[in-house]
């Protein structure tokens, strides 16, 4: 699925230099517009801010007063974080956090490796059935995960993989492949054929072309997909619950947090700190790699 907007024209999140006149004009003619923008911005920020403030308030305070009382009676503590991370006195989110990392890294790298060579074959090698195969893989993007889960679980159990990280690694890799191939293929097609011809004339084979010519040029596309997949896997709940649910040793932090929310729905000191522990990694990745993420979005892809 491509958007029709040319991807690279505008690095969206970079500030454009507005002319002073334009700004002044806008400010004068449309105070309502500014007000509406501010209202939306506040509505979108306040819920997160409230939970963040809460996560640093003492447990007793969270339970008895709203987080906004913090401004009249500021009290800070790290106890909530200590408690939610520690396995002995609290929810033990620390080990689930590590699980999330262990799950996410291979789930990004495996499909990247496989999709890159597959996309190369589709983009630069002529073979019978190429178009039909590519179309079939593209079409697989529409298969909802739900349709695959029960049979996959049976397969994993039969193969003796149940309750290992392999189930989650393989599942995420499989689900990520169609999008990865589609994105990388589109990007590879845009590389001028002349570059490859020149390399071929110099006697380079597929492997040499692949590593020396294409891979360095592919970096933005690889990054775009990598970030998508990273956020998707890190934030996933459905796949993890299906294959590693029920207090399993391989469950990621989203599962732990969802359970915490179900069983201790009023333990806001744990929930607020826990939520921020789980949010910190994707938000960091997101902020650092925003540019690639946006490029990926505009190149037309939202995993579904």
């Amino acid at each position: 699925m491509t958007t029709t907007t040319p991807p690279a024209t505008v690095p969206v999140l970079e500030a454009e230099k507005p002319t002073a006149a334009a700004v002044a004009k806008r400010k004068l003619t449309s105070p309502w517009a500014s007000l509406a923008a501010i209202v939306i911005a506040v509505l979108w920020t306040l819920p997160t801010f409230g939970l963040l403030v809460s996560s640093f308030r003492p447990q007793r305070q969270i339970k008895t007063t709203g987080w906004w009382t913090f401004f009249s009676d500021p009290q800070l503590t790290m106890d909530n974080y200590r408690q939610v991370l520690d396995a002995e006195s609290g929810a033990g989110l620390g080990s689930y956090f590590v699980n999330s990392l262990v799950i996410t890294i291979p789930s990004v790298l495996i499909p990247l490796c496989l999709a890159t060579i597959a996309a190369y074959a589709f983009a630069w090698i002529k073979f019978p059935g190429r178009n039909i195969l590519f179309l079939a893989i593209f079409a697989l993007q529409i298969v909802p995960l739900q349709v695959t889960l029960i049979p996959l679980l049976t397969l994993y159990v039969d193969a003796g993989l149940a309750n290992t990280f392999w189930t989650i690694w393989l599942s995420h890799s499989i689900f990520g492949l169609p999008l990865a191939i589609y994105l990388l293929h589109n990007f590879m097609r845009e590389i001028p054929a002349g570059l490859l011809e020149a390399a071929r004339v110099d006697g380079a084979g597929h492997v040499a072309i692949f590593f020396r010519v294409l891979l360095p040029l592919m970096r933005p596309a690889l990054a775009a997909f990598g970030i998508f997949q990273f956020l998707w896997v890190w934030n996933d709940l459905l796949v993890a619950l299906t294959f590693a649910g029920g207090g399993n040793k391989v469950a990621p932090i989203t599962v732990a947090l969802a359970n915490l929310s179900g069983t201790r729905g009023t333990a806001w000191h744990l929930l607020s700190a826990g939520a921020f522990v789980s949010i910190i990694v994707p938000v960091t990745v997101f902020v650092l790699a925003q540019r690639y993420f946006v490029r990926g979005l505009l190149a037309g892809s939202v995993k579904g």
Binding site: P18, A22, S54, W67, F127, N235, L257, Q290
Partner: protein
Amino acid sequence: MVAAILLFAAVVGAILFAATFFRGRRADRLTAYAYLAPTLVMLLVGLVYPGVRTIYESFFNAAGNAFIGLDNYKTIFTDGDQLTVLRNTVFWVVVTPFVATGVGLLYAILVDKARLESFAKALIFLPMAISFVGASIIWKFVYEYRPDQANVKQIGLLNQVLVWLGGTPQQWLVTSPLNTFLLIVVMIWIQAGFAMTVLSAAIKAIPEDIIEAARLDGVGPWGMFRFVTLPAIRPAVVVVLTTIGIGTLKVFDIVRTMTGGQFDTSVIANEFYSQSFRSDNQGLGSALAVLLFLLVIPIVVYNIRQIRRSEAL
């Protein structure tokens, strides 16, 4: 973890290496198939086979040992609980894409070329990085309810605002169908940033001379939006609407984390999970998954046709 990565790197390396030995007329063909082999195996085993298998299972009973034809589908469309699930899914799919796209579009226009544009955009964009579970917890806190007694203070923002306005606090997540819409708010909150980003890029891609020409013709701000901006970004709007629509159909995490599907808030994707893994009714679970699949197809087809058409122009 390291072993898994190394294993796959080794597989890919072996394939690349082996492919260098292909010689002759068919070398290219063989190389291509070798490069595609691991992907095709994984997709066939992990997507195609399970998909077909699920369709097959959907015609079987709860235990999966007796063929019952279309009974599972009949249940979905006649059983009271299941009808509530369908109703809620309709609410989700009708409301979320339009409101999220509307807010995204409005915001994109409002902050376009404004001071601090990038910062303003980041505020709306950030929820996209947060997991649905994290977002659900954030909003559950907003909806938190404390009984209405003199010595009890509200800790949920929404109820506090209500109290400030002179109302009595509500148990927001218990009242149906209001609770479904309060869950939808969470999805809108997450998706508006996506809409804003894509639409903002589309707006910025409108050629300057068109805008200039319209301005010289004396077109006002509203006319500019109606006759210049909107037609120019129409294809992007369609993509955003359909993409959010597809995501919304499959929403599961929010419902599960916030209400667990209780109080009449379940949707198809959540019901699939409950039936398959909690009620042990794999037949009905499979049928729900297939229904989800069937509902996604027309949206995707429409989306692809729109893209085709706009690219042909």
